[in-house]
Symmetry: C2
Subunit: 346 residues, 2 copies
């Protein structure tokens, strides 16, 4: 049986939510990943040092409780939640105080996606300068949800000018284009040395055709929305070749089933429990398995300067039937069979 | 109170389905329209003279029963279902026999939308020639669902070459581009004298942003999918100016709520009970109310050569709260208030 070993896989963009949902989804990531960059768009968002510490404590508690449950098998009980702050115009003193507790600051344009109402209204350079200069000096990466408020298929491409403004004005600030979906973003990556990107597994697999080309598929609806085949091809080129400025970030975003299969469906694809398996299948099918380690871990370690504790995850080419539900959440490919499984051997 | 009178409004593209659904939706169209071109994509499709006659009888029965109900007010109990056949490669003898029972033949590419599995696999001119020549000689219009099997946003534009093939090879055949959604189709209209089009009310009002730009809205998901703002602008230009080759066709397509708010949502927007009200609001807002009569009736009478019995429908600028449901069907704008109502005065 074909197998592939990954060391310290990292999910550089993850939604863990809070409360019961947190308890449901956190162990599904900690099972197979060494760590994850945890998004701060709770209600209310994570904006203080106390928020960061308290949320991290709740995440660890959620994992601690689950370790004792029989129905979740832990590959390794080590998992690091890399915490983030929801971008506001923070002052230097605050950032100096919180820098050791966070991995990044996440910037949302106001209202652009789930729980982003408190985001940035306008990208005014001078208003943002003190915060971004302090972040640059303190080596805090800026993670960005890069979408304009324009037509849904154009939002990411229209946002490129903001990335250029940020990257050129703060050349030592690491600017991470989160969950990129377009050839325009892919092309932007090499124009500025301080621009990086994360890519989800679902944007490597689907286009708008999968969301709305046949029946409408709410469980594949996310923001940014999946784009055209030529956009997906540009993302695949980056990921399969493990471009050194690109990291895996699942953007796995759980919603309860009733919020997805409804009149007014929330945005988000839940991939946490199957992300590594799907990536193995995809990289193997393209004869690029040797590049997967860089895409799912090494690039991120270099970019963020993080050193996760040793963890080995073995994947095997053996069918895995994706559950219909994890708690209240319907995963991508629910009820379907995927080609690779996680084998929790040592 | 502002009011506007329409004479013999016609819906030139309507799905009435069958059974209980037919009984639910038929009176919602007959209430305000003089007639409607009824689509033949039942399961199995309408492909014989007996099918046509039996389906028309079921439609009339559905209307007859409802006339006695207290809860549906009939403006006028006259309503003509203009029947259609599902396109197959019919021979001349069959078409000569059925011509008096149908208003048109509806062509679907195989598998392109709801219940279209028995449609045309390839648009081979010589295979289609005998049928289309007979239709041309018998003056039977060909209604076409014009989409390729390509990327969802490109399907209609990619189909333009088929329209050109049909229009140029059968110059006396009336070819009707159904429910057009793109600037490409709008531009095609004047290139061939025998090309016509229907436009829905929802494609005059929404773009893909309304379907998938905020929350995903299954009740606005249809085929062809709503396109870009510039496409909608091209449709509005045709409709508001009542281009003489353009007719109103609602493509009102009921599905039970459970088939819309689901993992795998069926395509179709249900507008029958509010279509005329929305059109009045739209044409009034654009100072084009004088053109509405041509768009919703006179153009269709000329193109199809039909003469509906006299019926007068008076609309008033008075708020109408759209019901949450009609039977099992959720209409467009369910629970919202629209600005115009039908006033069933004489």
């Amino acid at each position: 049986m074909k197998s592939h070993t990954l060391l310290m896989p990292l999910d550089m963009h993850l939604h863990l939510r809070d409360g019961v949902m947190l308890e449901t989804v956190a162990p599904l990531t900690s099972y197979s990943f060494s760590g994850a960059v945890v998004m701060p768009n709770l209600v209310p968002p994570v904006t203080t040092k106390e928020d960061v510490i308290a949320y991290k404590k709740r995440i660890n508690a959620a994992l601690g409780r689950v370790e004792e449950a029989d129905d979740v098998l832990m590959v390794d009980d080590f998992f690091e939640p890399y915490m983030t702050l929801f971008y506001q115009h923070y002052d230097r003193e605050f950032l100096e105080d919180v820098v050791d507790d966070i991995a990044a600051v996440k910037l949302y344009p106001a209202g652009i996606t789930t729980n982003s109402e408190g985001g940035v209204d306008s990208f005014d350079l001078e208003t943002m300068r003190p915060t971004l200069e302090a972040m640059s000096d303190l080596n805090i990466p800026l993670c960005v949800h890069g979408e304009s408020d324009g037509f849904v298929m154009d939002r990411e491409a229209e946002f490129m000018s903001v990335y250029e403004m940020l990257a050129s004005n703060f050349p030592k600030l690491k600017v991470i284009m989160e969950h990129i979906t377009t050839k325009e973003a892919a092309a932007m990556l090499d124009r500025y040395p301080n621009l990086y990107a994360t890519i989800t597994v679902h944007h490597l697999l689907i286009t708008l055709d999968d969301v709305a080309g046949g029946m409408l598929q709410p469980h594949l609806f996310c923001k940014p929305i999946a784009k055209r085949p030529k956009d997906r091809a540009a993302l695949l080129d980056l990921a399969l070749n493990a471009h050194p400025k690109v990291m895996f970030g699942s953007d796995s975003a759980p919603h309860p089933q009733h919020a997805k299969e409804a009149c007014g469906c929330a945005a988000g694809v839940f991939t946490a429990p199957i992300a590594l398996q799907l990536l193995c299948e995809l990289f193997d099918a393209n004869d690029k398995l040797d590049n997967l380690q860089n895409f799912v871990s090494d690039n991120a370690q270099s970019i963020y300067g993080i050193c996760p504790e040793f963890k080995e995850v073995v994947l095997v080419e053996s069918p895995f039937e994706v559950p219909e539900h994890y708690g209240s959440v319907v995963p991508m490919y629910a009820g379907e069979t995927i080609a690779w499984s996680i084998s929790n051997v040592e």
